[in-house]
Symmetry: C2
Subunit: 200 residues, 2 copies
């Protein structure tokens, strides 16, 4: 039994979305499972002094161009959302709640939410949009909406984000496999090399 | 005649060094010239709020690991310098002064300085070390030491750094070809794809 790949991402991160579109195929090639772990980058940025890309001089213009170019390079359907970034508590909480019941369905929901935000320009910060999207992958809308209000579900996301920070996660996407960290969709070539060779 | 690739880097940047080891072979494959343009990242960081990697919580530990791993992945000789980062005025000024007289020799000097810092752990912030290194590629030591004190040579580096910022350069390495910007040693795959296809 090989260890799974921990895949950390924020639902508002375009590079996290690109990572999400490629990680399952990559992991399957090397017989690894993937654990999807949404986090709140805002909490991380408080620690690192990081800023959302659109607020950084020079870097924001480049990032806009790079994100569109990467989408074309990887062949991933994408458009810049009208609201960016957005708060991602609702979709992130939803994933942990569904994961505890049915991990494959949680992955399907995460993919559907990322597509809703980055392809269909839906505002997934809204619990209603999150629940509507959940319904499309067979999750009961009202049950999810109720869950999103539960203190334990809210606490779970805080705990997961804190645990991610404790492991050194500071960006999105961020992969950890066999205790080896890989930050960025652009480290997936080295992640693959790691899976293939067991380290170098 | 195709346009050259502008290669911006800071002498204190490990990723810039990795880029320097790979850009000439890549450019030659597609019949492009490379113009080497050292800049001062410190001036850029004043504008973007960027910080040297060793000062950023979480990111610094990762960067240390990632830099060593990238060197092994690319097969580039490398060790973390005992002093990092260092001021890079002396080597950067030397490059522009030599470039105006003999561009191929300026490239040889840049490569020798990067190797002195990132392989032999020499402190290239020192004008003396810069001049000694220059002597190994056939540049007259005393003439270079005198040039490094000239106001026009100092001004030249400021002008080049300002011009780089005006073009949107904010990191190292940073490549611009046909007005298309590529930031990072990890964008050299997309840079190559651009050279091959003319854009996508």
């Amino acid at each position: 039994m090989t260890a799974p790949i921990d895949f950390y991402f924020d639902f508002s991160s375009p590079y996290g979305y690109f990572g999400s579109c490629r990680i399952e195929a990559l992991a399957a090639k090397y017989d690894r499972e993937v654990v999807w772990r949404p986090i709140l980058l805002g909490a991380v940025f408080k620690l690192t002094g990081g800023q959302p890309l659109p607020t950084i001089p020079l870097k924001s213009d480049y990032a806009h161009r790079d994100i569109l170019r990467c989408a074309r390079y990887y062949g991933i359907p994408f458009r810049i959302p009208s609201r960016f970034p957005v708060a991602t508590q609702a979709p992130a909480r939803a994933i942990y709640w569904v994961w505890d019941r049915d991990p494959p369905r949680a992955k399907a929901l995460a993919a559907a939410l990322l597509r809703a935000y980055f392809v269909d320009d839906r505002d997934i910060s809204s619990p209603e949009v999150t629940a509507e999207t959940a319904a499309t992958v067979g999750i009961e809308r009202e049950a999810l909406l109720a869950a999103l209000q539960e203190p334990a579900v809210k606490e779970r996301l805080r705990t997961e984000t804190d645990a991610a920070i404790a492991r050194g996660v500071f960006g999105s996407p961020f992969f950890i496999v066999d205790d080896e960290p890989f930050w960025g969709a652009d480290r997936m070539d080295q992640l693959e090399h790691w899976l293939k060779t067991g380290g170098w």
